[in-house]
Symmetry: C2
Subunit: 310 residues, 2 copies
């Protein structure tokens, strides 16, 4: 999948992923109303609203981008009905040819991580059948439990040719509370980054490893260091746009081949119709607003990368 | 919920929680066969098998213990169908009067953690209704993202009088890889433990805080230190039995009031029928084997605690 991700990024000239994190408050009223009038004010109604919202956004942007990143929490909050909407979203994005990064941030002791890995990236054995469940192409993983909590994910990736993005330095304001603490003179996130590079060395794609990292756009200096520390790891970069990350800050997350990073925007794209810059589209045309926001984001990132090359 | 947990532990004299982590390989053949013949070799068939298995175990042990701890990964691996079995299990345990610790190990940036917290412990707003989704009583949380990733969970706990167990020192062999690294002379898990105590100070129950910690049974010396560092935090102790933790090692996880810790066993209880010690029950009577294993575990823990008091 990492090879496919590289190909798609090059073909589209767009190292960009759209986060499908549909808060109900982002969904235009006419969509919510339609779903709730069909299913009532229920979890099924809410789940249908976010699914209809996603579908229209995906229909509007699928040809511009290599991948989407649904944040499972936004579905899980609606329980089983929400998880159905998550599954539908993953499947629909696959139909549209998009790669899917399941932003699940799972991680546990070995046997438990193996179950998560099977359910999200691999297959489970039921009787004589091997079955896929959620079947994303990539998943995000939390490293706090160390190698034996991560290895089952790595093993499944090797087998299924899928990929991971492991949390190294997250984009949130208090990420430094533990991640920045110095251990033998170096911050924890660097030790984690070094392990990501080591884990990644065991399953390489053509140029990049199957095992990537998450490094927030909001900490560009750290991103620059981590880029050097993990030269073969793709970096998934959250925090662009709504969280404050700027394109010119992100050039150092990339390698000289113009690859090595993929920048995520969630709210900035899917809730574009709520922003002044795209208000002209109106809530009825929220898909078109998202499309324009994707076009603008790609331009912004391309511009920064080109400026860097000159 | 922490008050109810304390009451139930005292009433039953059993600081024990059973992990409902149903690997399909633990489920006796006659149960699997019945489910697969009804639903085919499908995810629905597998999910039905683990649900039927859980139900019989819960029916056999509910009166002995204060709480259960379903590990969501074991359900999530079967996709949406598995999540239905998870929800059924949570609801059924509630019907039986058991407290439910959702072992979900979630944790993300603030807005995302808020969605997880709403879905697992709180309520979501849909139209004019406030609805519960999974509705566990406690959840486990990963601290790697720091305060703003944990706070939304704490806020929901305060509002709903529910509880958390935050990963401090996990039971797995490589937990030390990051958790034991020294920061200003003290291991990371102590810094996390100190934060757990601070977060917990903001929402106290009668004697213990709503905010507890996870400390593995496999690291008793660290458990002893952490007990002192977080005097008001209940400690959820995984790793007893199958992972190697022994009752006599666990006495220091408790406070002098005989409370302050709850010891989990998963495999050792739910797969008891596969152990030599309980083979006499036979696979047909796996529920009775589990009951006997719970009785023995409670005796074992009580014995160690009493020996300590003498």
């Amino acid at each position: 999948m990492i090879n496919r991700l590289c190909e798609k990024i090059k073909k589209l000239n767009a190292p960009v992923v759209v986060g499908l994190d549909p808060m109900l408050s982002y969904v235009p009223e006419h969509v919510v109303k339609r779903s709730l009038s069909e299913y009532g004010e229920t979890l099924a109604g809410a789940a249908d609203a976010i699914w209809q919202f996603n579908k229209e956004i995906v229909d509007s942007i699928w040809d511009l981008i290599p991948a989407v990143k649904p944040q499972v929490a936004m579905y899980e909050q609606f329980g089983v009905e929400g998880m159905k909407a998550y599954q539908k979203t993953v499947d629909y994005c696959h139909e549209k040819g998009l790669l899917v990064i399941g932003d699940v941030k799972r991680g546990d002791i070995g046997s438990t991580s193996a179950a998560y890995a099977a359910g999200h990236l691999g297959k489970v054995q039921v009787g004589s059948c091997l079955l896929s469940a959620f079947n994303e192409d990539f998943a995000t993983v939390n490293p706090y439990l160390g190698t034996d909590g991560v290895k089952p994910f790595v093993d499944v990736c090797r087998e299924e040719r899928k990929g991971l993005f492991i949390l190294v330095k997250t984009s949130n304001p208090s990420s430094g509370e533990f991640q920045d603490r110095l251990i033998d003179g170096r911050p924890l996130y660097e030790w984690v980054g070094e392990q990501v590079a080591a884990w990644g060395g065991t399953c390489m794609g053509e140029t990049y490893s199957y095992i990537g990292a998450v490094v927030g756009a909001t900490y560009p200096e750290m991103g620059k260091e981590l880029r050097k520390l993990m030269p073969k790891s793709f970096i998934l970069v959250p925090g662009y746009g709504a969280q404050g990350g700027k394109a010119e800050d992100l050039v150092h997350y990339f390698n000289e081949d113009g690859l090595g990073a993929i920048v995520n925007s969630s709210r900035g794209i899917i809730a574009a119709h709520k922003k002044e810059a795209y208000a002209r589209f109106g809530a009825e045309h929220f898909g078109e607003a998202s499309r324009q926001a994707v076009v603008d984001m790609i331009e912004d990132i391309r511009g920064a990368l080109n400026a860097q090359l000159c």
